[in-house]
Amino acid sequence: MATETLTIGKALNTGLRRALENDPKVVIMGEDVGKLGGVFRITDGLQKDFGDQRVIDTPLAESGIIGTAIGLAIRGYRPVCEIQFDGFVYPAYDQIVSQVAKMHYRSRGKLRIPMVIRIPFGGGIGAVEHHSESPEAYFSHTAGLKVVSCANPQDAYVMIQQAIASDDPIIFLEPKRRYWEKGPVELDAPLADAYPLHASRVVRPGTDVTLLAYGPMVRTCLDAASAAAEDGRELEVIDLRTISPLDLGVAYESVRRTGRAVVVHEAPSNVGLGAEIAARITEECFYSLESPVLRVTGFDTPYPAARVEEEYLPDLDRVLDAVDRTFGW
């Protein structure tokens, strides 16, 4: 079995290539996805190999990308749309929320929109405004959409292919600050045998506190767990992977053992994923909890200027601070 060390970015690129090879109805569309290979090079080389009818450079209008992709989906295509940056998805918001999400429901199941909307999301790259946002709650709140995020190269490679193969419309959030992180990827394992797309997973076992994260914050939590281990505290880290619908069975089982949970995400806390996860853990694990479920998140401000984003973003120390606080009850 071929195992290669790839970055998350290259793993996504390889996964997209596989999807284009395996299904002639798959088309990639977005701004600069062709010759340039996307601003993060995630589609690098694909137009050269598959042509400009499979990898389509679109006019610069996000609502147009999603709206025309809907038409292509009705025609029988499987569009994979790239939104260049998180903060640029909002012009497409109406098409995503009012059209993509509802078509299957409105048609009473007769119409499927097998679309993947790839969005590089989150901060930490020193970017100017609108390039560092975490819009997952907006989409998770919308029935008819599914939302996932990958956190390592193996998942990036597999999950993008699973998302494209799925008939559900899927918002695929890519942790842009982690694009260059490397890891082993099994390239030849059959997709059918892969870990399911909409399932969470323990990525580091532990006994004392459960950390829950997705996308870029999984790495932060793993680092926090390593640091905590040096102080004799064993943190269990769960990579949620699927943000909507949430798959919290693994989390419930974990929290019943640890009695403590901390949810970590870059997005602001107010009415965010952390609130939903905390509420559900509280409902399901009430008698096991030794402390309230805590959240470590971005602040309820607009995403700040790059020179203060390190202070805004949850980091190892803030995660460990929350872990400490769970022992204060």
Partner: protein, 391 residues
């Protein structure tokens, strides 16, 4: 109806019609049948395209029948709303010719992306007029397969469907289904208000640069709910096409013949791979925007009366009578059919059952969701808890 290519069949009996460029009072307006029922042989559009139709008598009568039926069924739906049987109705009154003319110009393989008012186009596609009434009664939200009927579900968000039509048309081209007589074309309906939407303008850009086989069919009925055309544009809408790089034409939308001719030409251009075009069907919404609207608050009676004189059905009837294409028996028979079909429609609307509450969880996702499974089960248990109680 709409068999063959207009201009090939032979005509007879008609008094020698005129040929001219545009219509009186608006040189850019394509008109083939005046409000008085006078035929114009052919019209040369602003870009030199010659528009003409040459229907058989049977085809002329067929168009009249369509117009009358579409109006009658629409009136029935309005009545059903007034009686509380529909939650809302968006009447097409006054726009019958724009819809029948364009609808009959479509070929079987062509795809339609309607707004929520294209009941007449739907009828001309041979689709049972009951199909969209579930939406307005509130028992479903469309519920049909666009590919089965070559007619997309109604779209209520203004202009959103123009992008769907554009993407679909790009798919037609990618499938290699343009370039010949059997090529596929796509038509996107929208109104004058929609031309202000970003999505519509993005659709114009996309269709243009991808040379999509698409006809943008704008029914300019002069009002976006209460706002008159002047609030949307300072240039005639058909001229918007210039800036996007494809042809635009204004047609008398109350003239079923001209609308047919213009749409037929545009669809043929699209199916032959010549790209998109814009048709502005200049018409008037005789009724309210929807049954929730009161047009007396924003427009004056004399304006409505002036358009009444341009009625799309009266002019066809006048033409059929003058040319002795139809007699009193025919008109009576059409009225009788319209009455029969509207009664049939009414009976079936009244018989539409409310959906089972548990079905509200169905078809949110093709592959389902454990969250919804849980909620469905909880809700079902909740409903069952009332069984045997007085409530």
């Amino acid at each position: 109806m709409a068999k063959g290519d207009p201009g090939v069949s032979t005509r007879s009996r008609r008094a020698a019609p005129r040929s001219r460029k545009g219509a009186a009072g608006d040189p850019d307006l394509v008109q083939l049948l005046t409000p008085e029922g006078e035929r114009i042989e052919s019209v040369t559009g602003p870009d030199g395209t010659v528009y003409r139709v040459d229907f058989t008598d049977e085809e002329y009568r067929g168009l009249y029948r369509d117009l009358v039926l579409v109006r009658k069924l629409d009136a029935e739906a309005t009545a059903l709303q007034r009686q509380g049987e529909l939650g809302l109705w968006a009447s097409l009154l006054g726009q019958e010719a724009a819809q029948v003319g364009s609808g009959r110009a479509l070929r079987t393989q062509d795809m339609v992306f309607p707004t929520y008012r294209e009941h007449g186009v739907l009828y001309c596609r041979g689709i049972d007029p009951i199909m969209p009434l579930g939406l307005f009664r509130g028992v479903d939200q469309g519920g049909w397969d666009p590919n089965e009927f070559k007619f997309n579900m109604y779209t209520i968000v203004i202009g959103a469907q123009t992008l769907h039509a554009t993407g679909y048309a790009m798919g037609v081209a990618m499938d290699g289904k343009t370039g010949g007589d059997e090529g596929e074309a796509v038509i996107a309906y929208f109104g004058d208000g929609a031309t202000s939407q970003g999505d519509v303008n993005e659709a114009f850009v996309w269709a243009s640069v991808f040379n999509a086989p698409l006809v943008f069919f704008c029914q300019n009925n002069q009002y976006a709910i209460s706002e008159p055309l002047e609030r949307q544009t300072r240039v005639p809408l058909y001229r918007r096409a210039d800036g996007f790089g494809f042809p635009g034409v204004r047609v008398d939308g109350n003239d079923v013949l001209a609308t047919y001719a213009v749409t037929h030409t545009a669809l043929d251009n699209a199916r032959h791979g010549q790209g998109p075009s814009l048709i502005e069907a200049y018409t008037y919404r005789m009724g309210a925007h929807t049954t929730s609207d009161d047009p007396t608050r924003y427009r004056i009676a004399s304006e409505v009366e002036a358009w009444q004189a341009k009625d799309p059905i009266a002019r066809v009837k006048a033409f059929l009578e003058k040319q002795q294409i139809a007699d009193a028996d025919f008109f009576a028979e059409v009225d009788e059919q319209a009455k029969r079909e509207s009664v049939h429609l009414r009976e079936r609307v009244l018989a539409m059952p409310n959906p089972d509450p548990n079905t509200l969880f169905d078809h949110v996702y093709p592959h389902g969701s454990p969250l919804l499974d849980e909620q469905r089960e909880q809700f079902s248990r909740y409903l069952e808890s009332f069984e045997g109680s007085a409530h």
